[in-house]
């Protein structure tokens, strides 16, 4: 049966004004969904890709979650911070530039103005653009529920396409990123067919710290090439502490490609994606290290 729905399914709408109220609802109402910008959730509801919730909970009543701030060197991004505000935040641009690059690469202004970084992560698609950047920044997610909270490293957050470690009664309240040494540099490459308004066929984030011609730290995040966004840890290991040189970079790029496990889909073939991981990892490291 094929029906092209133009209308949303039926649901109740609640906009809690306090976290207490939110967690009350989450803890006793069985079939409910939270949303922030709705840029992922609303289209899914329209297309009936997910079972409609009885209650849709709009997080935007929790004004206290709309912030981007630095506390003791640590960047804190509240769950309601939009993609646009992260992309254009002075602090982010200056100190966590790779995240601003990633945010800028998402869709266009209309979506950036509504969508949130936290929503991007919680939606958990392999191509989420902020994910590779947050992975290399070792972001931590602060998660809360009615009577408790926990902190999860982003590399433990994703468990599969559209799946995270979040329980039904939990929300992510904040993304936390520890200070990155000011000498670190990062690049996010998003490969797509169009110049804008496109999803990544491959996303590559590289964060580099170098010291006296050596890789003092190197982190590689990959998007759209595995069931979840991933870190290319083996490639990182190969480089860490080593002297910066072209051959090593080539080898690391090849290993990063081996670490990816892309699929064929209507956006690109697995073969192409694998090659592109190698190409873009190499390109990013070369550019950051200024190796020819």
């Amino acid at each position: 049966m094929v029906i092209f729905y133009r209308r949303l399914p039926k649901f109740e709408y609640i906009k809690p004004e306090s976290q207490n109220m939110l967690f009350e609802i989450l803890s006793d109402n069985k079939n409910c969904s939270v949303y922030a910008g709705g840029t992922d959730l609303i289209p899914k509801l329209k297309k009936r890709l997910i079972k409609p919730p009885d209650v849709l909970i709009d997080l935007k009543g929790l004004n206290e979650l709309d912030y981007i701030k630095i506390e003791g060197g640590t960047l804190k991004i509240g769950a309601l911070s939009t993609i646009y505000s992260v992309a254009t935040s002075k602090i982010v641009i200056e100190k966590f530039n790779i995240l601003s690059q990633a945010a800028k690469s998402i869709a266009a202004f209309q979506i950036q103005n509504r969508g949130t970084i936290v929503g991007n992560i919680c939606n958990a698609v392999p191509s989420a653009d902020s994910a590779p950047a947050l992975l290399v920044l070792n972001a931590k997610l602060n998660i809360k529920k009615k009577d408790g909270s926990r902190k999860v490293n982003i590399d433990e957050f994703f468990i599969g396409p559209n799946k995270t470690v979040l329980d039904k009664d939990e929300i992510v309240t904040e993304v936390e990123i520890s200070e990155v040494p000011s000498s670190f540099k990062g690049i996010y490459y998003k490969l797509s067919t169009r110049g804008k308004m496109d999803l990544a066929t491959v996303g590559v984030a590289v964060l580099l710290g170098s010291d006296n011609g050596r890789f003092s730290d190197i982190r590689i995040g990959l998007g759209a090439v595995a069931p979840t966004p991933i870190r290319a840890k083996r490639a990182e290991e190969l480089l860490k502490g080593e002297k910066i040189n072209k051959e090593l970079i080539n080898n690391a790029a090849r290993i990063a490609s081996d670490e990816s496990s892309p699929i064929d889909d209507h956006r690109a073939s697995a073969t192409y994606r694998k090659i592109m991981v190698e190409t873009l990892v190499k390109r990013a490291i070369c550019r950051l290290t200024e190796v020819g």
Binding site: F4, T193, R194, H266, R267
Partner: protein, 766 residues
């Protein structure tokens, strides 16, 4: 305001702002989906989840019982009605009858008090299918034993068309180089932003429907046939139309028939609006085609013969396919001299969505193949791609071997302008960075203006003079966005010496406007324009007689200019046009002043079976330079510049001509490198605007349009064609630019980053 001197005119040749611009920038302009009527119901269609299946049973009982549902229908309510372009190809029912032939074909429909209820009701309809083996590739469908899509075409050949002129074998023998290649064009769609929508009302005066149509007189006839009513009981009213580009909005859609039927069943107005995914999955798309092309060339670049075998994916129904097949061949003899030509086109039924017309109809396929093959051969022979075009380009007057007659041709002129353009002269420049390579490509093409189909051809205009000197202009032609309302109004105002705001054009209402063939094949300016010109001359003639009496001069000597009227050489005697209108309207009994005109161009016969004669009234010539930057590792391609030398004859409104070229070339860029439906056994996997990648503002190149002026006697004021040439010229010039950058010839569209990257790796290995 931009202005080009195309003669002694006050309005023509000027980029007058669009007459509908105010309505469009304020949101006042009403499109079909914006219209509501009291008591209106919503119609919604249930569609097939299988590409090929027998329908065993449809149970609508539960849907009918849902509160708010007013009617449910299935194919049997249409009593066997089928529509199609020719009497012998009427094979398409509004809803599937005994079997479904493509994924998403309509099987039942519901009318309910609101759309939400209609959607809910569809969920309650139960359809039992018996799945049949499907066929999804046209070449597979031609094989012995392939599943049969329509019993009346047991070999799955929906239509075939053959041309044979001169002696191709002899031509190939005379050649120094003969090449054979397989080309393929992609699965693309028009991509208008306004989904089809309509609101229908059936009452004692018959059917009234406000429908988003670029050719409203198609649905007018379809509805008369379907509901067995005389034409004067069918009223199609034309709201603003949000883009057409052929195919879907030239034709009827299931929603049109169902909403009318529901209005008949319930006595209430019924509205439907398609979803964009529904458009992508179930509406007309361009045929995708495989072209086996063979060309013979002498050492000096002279083309001696061409032979094409084209296999087009027709999808599940015939639609306008026979005309598509005709157009793939009949224009292949342009714009280069071709002494020997053979063409065999096969339109093949498959279980895919229906292939039909789209801007650049038919010609895009074969011209792409021929242009690229010509470039490939030039390269093999060490000839310059510019020179080879200049060498073979026709010059007017000219008659092709299949008797297409050319009275004006700006191809050489255009090519010579491009040859001197810095983009061409300085094309061996250094590349921007080490990852990016750039290239410049060229193409030269022709397209027909004032196209004709087999039946009713003419366009007409009626002008009604108001006593205050303003004019009501009725035309059956539709402005689907191209700007024809503005140009037609310019013509009427020009002839009457009025300023543009004195003439008010009415959008189509079949109850009042004269019948018209439709807005396709670049025919409106040429043919409706001729009608407008003649109607204005007719009105002027009548008025001149009143004026002549006043001044006692011959009516031929009356001048209409600047909202004034005066006897020749006596401008000091001038009276306002308004005054003359009053005199005329008030003089005696029955002085109702109406000007009438209809088009007569392009009515000589042509041979649809053999491909002989003029399918168009006049022909445009477009040559194009394109520059691209290609990332040699990722294949990411950015088109940076396009220079389009376009011979539309005389640009009556240069701004609108430019806009047509800019829009068409970017649509062509989409076909060349971005757009493609990815299919899996009849299902389209990327039926949305995120994954079907139409170019965005960031992807659009800088576009320069160079007007090449020619003078064609066959069309009014020498205005030929402006909207389709550039969608034909764009893909080959883009692909030729990519070749210039990469050294690789790509023969299948679209050329995506993936294809480029993988091909470059292969090349590196060699």
């Amino acid at each position: 305001m931009e202005e080009i001197n195309i003669g002694d005119y006050s309005l023509l040749g000027k980029s007058i702002p669009r007459i509908d611009a105010y309505e469009k920038v304020t949101g006042e302009a009403k499109y079909a989906a914006d219209i509501e009527l009291p008591g209106m119901l919503w119609c919604k269609i249930l569609r097939s989840p299988l590409p090929h299946a027998k329908i065993l049973n449809i149970d609508i009982s539960r849907a009918k019982r849902l509160t708010g549902v007013k009617a449910v229908c299935t194919a049997k309510d249409f009593k066997g009605f089928r529509w199609g372009w020719m009497p012998i190809t009427r094979d398409e029912p509004p809803l599937a009858e005994d079997k479904v032939r493509f994924y998403g074909e309509g099987v039942a429909a519901v009318a309910a008090i609101d759309e939400e209820t209609a959607e809910e009701a569809l969920e309650l309809i139960k359809v039992d299918y018996e799945e049949l083996p499907g066929v999804f590739d046209p070449e597979e469908a031609l094989k012995e034993g392939a599943p049969v899509v329509h019993d009346y075409r047991p070999n799955n050949i929906s239509w075939e068309f053959h041309m044979d002129f001169g002696d191709v074998e002899k031509g190939f023998k005379e050649a120094d180089l003969v090449r054979e290649d397989r080309f393929a064009t992609g699965r693309v769609i028009t991509g208008f932003l306004e989904p089809p929508a309509a609101i229908a009302l059936w009452n004692s005066s018959g059917i009234t429907i406000w429908a988003a149509k670029q050719s409203p007189y198609f649905v007018y006839r379809h509805l008369a046939q379907c509901f067995n009513l005389p034409l004067n009981k069918i009223r199609v009213i034309q709201p603003f139309v949000g883009g057409g580009f052929g195919g879907t909005k030239n034709d009827s859609v299931a929603g049109d028939f169902c909403s009318v039927l529901f209005s008949k069943m319930t006595g209430r107005p019924v509205k439907f609006v398609y979803k964009m995914e529904e458009v992508f999955l179930t509406c007309r798309r361009r045929h995708n085609a495989i072209i086996y092309n063979k060309m013979g060339m002498k050492k000096d670049g002279t083309i001696t013969a061409m032979q094409s075998r084209l296999i087009a994916d027709g999808g599940a129904y015939t639609a306008i396919g026979p005309l598509t097949m005709y157009l793939t061949g009949c224009i292949s003899t342009l714009p280069y001299k071709l002494p020997n030509f053979k063409h065999d086109a096969y339109r093949v039924f498959t279980n895919n969505p229906v292939g039909a017309a789209m801007r650049g109809h038919g010609v895009t396929h074969t011209r792409f193949a021929a242009e690229i093959q010509m470039d490939m051969m030039a390269e093999e022979l060490g000839l310059d791609p510019m020179e080879i075009r200049l060498k073979n380009a026709i010059e007017a007057p000219y008659e092709t071997i299949n008797k297409v007659t050319i009275f004006s041709c700006g191809l050489k002129d255009g090519l010579l302008k491009l040859k001197e353009h810095p983009l061409w002269k300085e094309r061996k420049k250094e590349n921007k960075d080490k990852e990016t390579i750039s290239g410049v490509g060229i193409s030269g093409v022709a397209y027909l203006g004032g196209a004709r189909q087999r039946g009713y051809q003419s366009c007409a205009a009626v002008l009604r003079l108001c006593e205050d000197g303003t004019v009501e202009y009725l035309t059956g032609a539709t402005d689907a966005g191209q700007g024809s309302d503005t140009v037609l109004t310019q013509i009427v105002a020009e002839e009457l010496g009025l300023s543009i705001d004195h003439v008010d054009i009415q959008r189509v209402d079949t109850a009042y406007t004269p019948c018209d063939a439709g807005s396709y094949g670049s025919r409106v300016t040429a043919l409706a324009g001729e009608a407008a010109m003649k109607a204005a001359k007719d009105l002027k003639r009548q008025l001149a007689e009143y004026a002549a009496k006043e001044w006692n001069v011959s009516s031929e000597d009356i001048v209409f200019k600047n909202n004034k009227v005066y006897p020749k050489h006596m401008p000091d005697k001038a009276i306002p046009f308004r005054k003359l209108a009053q005199i005329a309207c008030y003089s005696g009994v029955g002085a109702v002043i109406i000007g009438r005109g209809y088009s007569q161009y392009g009515i000589e016969p042509y041979d649809f079976e053999k491909g002989i004669g003029n399918a168009g009234t006049a022909y445009s010539f477009t040559s194009q330079l394109t520059r691209v930057e290609v990332d040699k590792e990722t294949g990411f391609t950015k088109c940076t510049d396009m220079i389009i030398a376009h011979d539309c004859g005389k640009p009556l409104n240069p701004g609108l001509v430019e806009s047509q070229n800019q829009g068409a070339s970017v649509q062509g860029l989409g076909q060349a490198i971005y757009e493609e439906f990815v299919m899996d056994r009849g299902r389209t996997l990327n039926a949305n605007l995120a994954d079907y990648k139409m170019p965005t503002a960031v992807d659009a190149p800088n576009i320069e349009v160079i007007h090449i002026l020619t003078d064609d006697p066959k069309v009014p004021y020498g205005a030929k064609e402006a909207s389709e040439g550039a969608i034909v010229s764009s893909p080959p010039s883009v692909i030729s630019a990519i070749h210039d950058a990469t050294g690789i010839w790509f023969k299948e569209l679209p050329v995506t980053p993936e294809k480029i990257a993988l091909a470059l790796r292969e090349k590196k290995k060699e």
